[in-house]
Symmetry: C2
Subunit: 150 residues, 2 copies
Amino acid sequence: MTMIADTQNPSLAQRITDRGLRPTPQREVVYQVILAKRDHPTAEEVFARVKILMSTISLATVYNCLEALVQYGLIKQVNFVREPTRYCPNLHEHAHFHDEASGKIHDIDIPADLMARLRSLLPAGYAAVSVDLSFRGSVRSAPAPAAHNN
Amino acid sequence: MTMIADTQNPSLAQRITDRGLRPTPQREVVYQVILAKRDHPTAEEVFARVKILMSTISLATVYNCLEALVQYGLIKQVNFVREPTRYCPNLHEHAHFHDEASGKIHDIDIPADLMARLRSLLPAGYAAVSVDLSFRGSVRSAPAPAAHNN
DNA sequence: CTATATGCAAATAGTTTGCCTGTTA
DNA sequence: TAACAGGCAAACTATTTGCATATAG
């Protein structure tokens, strides 16, 4: 049984195993396409990219793989109001900027001390498993005239 | 046609008008139920509460009203990964804590200077219309601090 | 009056589930 | 070989839309 997935970088399977998740060709290829591009694809986009490498994979399996990878800390999920869930290979604590004009998502680095300060705002007894910080707005590529937003 | 909504606090219609939104009995009653409880209901929950006051209202209208109220800055919307959109009467800039055990959402106050510092982390040219900060985790049931629940 | 909102039902998007087969450790 | 993952289609949930009627300014 020779599958394309079998020819992948073995470190992917290793990283999956290291996290305690059973490696399957489907999980490896889903993980691979998410790592390959440093963007924030939706499940459908992951499915499209994965199908090129493994034409037999189903969308439901992509969803299952994504969920497993998220659950075992190999990728993160991001979501924005009225947008499908997106997946992110960047495990480093960071924020997201959602550019409404282009639909693109940009990673924003947040200094660790500031993240710590955010967590410190929680009342006693509140234990945060995760902090989600996202911005929504627009990016202007060049110096623009005075703001005229409403 | 006499409707319960007609007997509402006229300031609701006034506040809607003040924002430049046409006041309708449906919008008023949706706005009313969101203000009545300082929690974070989903559209379905709003629908259930509104139906008590106006049995003829439809779910689609509730969605339309919620969208209009959000768009005109009368309420805010919050969302969490794989959760339906929730609506929030608290217009003050604040964060949310999603308690995974209870499903409840608690408002967390964030000092204005910290919010400003978060915005200042954006690269030049990035204009944030909104900042969304949310925590996910658990709350140890101890003497409850002053935070809004659900 | 005229633009816009409502109500209903049907459509859609995103995601999950059931069931049976295949694969992994 | 026992537990778990995949494939497919159907189910499901949240939300949006089309269209005829009603209503607000």
